[in-house]
Amino acid sequence: MINALSGWLDIPVYALNAGLSAVILGIVSGVLGSFIVLRKMSLMGDALSHAVLPGVALSYILGINILLGASLFGLLAAILIQFITSRSNIKSDTSIGIILSSFFALGIVLITFARSGLDLTHILFGNILAVPQSELTQSFIIMLVVIAIITLLYKELLISSFDPVVAKAYGLRTGFYHYLLMTLLSVVTVSSLSQVGIVLVIAMLVIPAATSYLWTKTLFHMIVLASAAGAVSGIAGVILSFRYNLPTSATIVLTGMALFVISFILSPKNNFLGKGLKTK
């Protein structure tokens, strides 16, 4: 199907794959990123995306599914961060820092140890020119699953993000939804490995969602607009990087950032211009 489409559009298969996977990543990270931003978990998201590295390495070494290894380590990192914070007076940003860096270090050791065909730079920074068909399909399925879960549990995710205290008071198991989001985050990190890589995946989660936040006044609109912003920066980033021979992951992120800057200045909700004039 991709081949037919590629012939019809008269662009090479690898370019089409790159574009499609960037759009898929943009959509899924917009959906998930909206919750990450609203729950004030941007730093946590950064930690988890780094913490999946040993999982990725182990999956290669043991020959198991990479999604399994990655979500296992992502979840383990989330649990450890929570554990350190609750069992000591260490604040959560510090425990996030500890877990992020040590898991990342463990991943680097494991990858060096494996000495297989695993290329560390590709995992860290992505390699969008080599997105195999199977990975594209996998990303697509992950996107559908994430959207399905968030649609089904929309009410619970909304209230546990908006007002966790009241949610807990009426008996909602808020901890479950926290770890559910952490698991989805780990899975999405895997699906983004080829496009932006581990280091920059947090940008895809946070920037389109923050951009959308500046324009919207309901959660649903925020999710939809964040996905659109993610998809637009994904496809624009791919096109720009191909045309001007730039590193794709960085170009995608900077395109997203450009949308954010424009929104920051023009959004009526943010009222940057109004405020700027008033202070003068």
Partner: protein
Amino acid sequence: MLYKERKLTIIKKVVHVETGDDTVIEINNLNVDYFGNPVLESIDLNIPLGYSVGIIGPNGAGKSTFIKALLEVVKKRSGSVKIEGADISGWKRRIAYVPQKNDIDLTFPITVRNTVLTGTYPGLKLFRRPGKKEMETAERCMAMVDISDLANRQISNLSGGQLQRVFIARALAQQAELFFLDEPFVGIDLVSETIIVKLLKQLREEGKTVLVVHHDLHEVEDYFDKIIILNKKLIAFGDVKDTFTTENIRSAYGASLGNVIIKGAGDGHD
């Protein structure tokens, strides 16, 4: 079966109004710590259902923590909380909780209407979305606190009083049996206060239980049937006219402060 149980509860309640026993929130040896420091110590208390009850005490007395511990939002070190003999966890969906305004993220992208609508969530099963019936409930509850014209506003664009009415409307939308409110009258305008006070009285007349953390000692006698005076420990509990005394206030607030605060308010009763 379920219907029968419900009926039984209603009958029980009628009995309680006449005899004043039986149906209670039963609190046994409640202890709460915050990072190793005791916030609430060995509280034993039976709060009868069907009354409006004020919780008063000085700053840092653990009033908010008390409500949160009942609802298991903060961890108890020890103790049990039962309602009509059953663990409170089975009751949670029938308890509407209105936290302090600054406990809520006002920058969240949500409109007044959708905020009120979240009040119907506890009554909906997993995967179920609010439908037409829930929408109507939300509209009705907004009208009850006179905020229908604000329905499409984002909650960050409201005054303190309007905001408090939004959260009251949300609690109403839950159609609960018990209402726990944490300082509902702080930082609100007179119009909002009047509306809320009228509603709380109405709820009480419908046989609901209303538990309110109250920040000052004004209007205590007007607002509540019973009061709980707290300062880490339970100082006193009972009918307002017997409990709201200079002596009790003094032991909760300290001798000198107690005198100042109570002046004019409880003088007639001691």
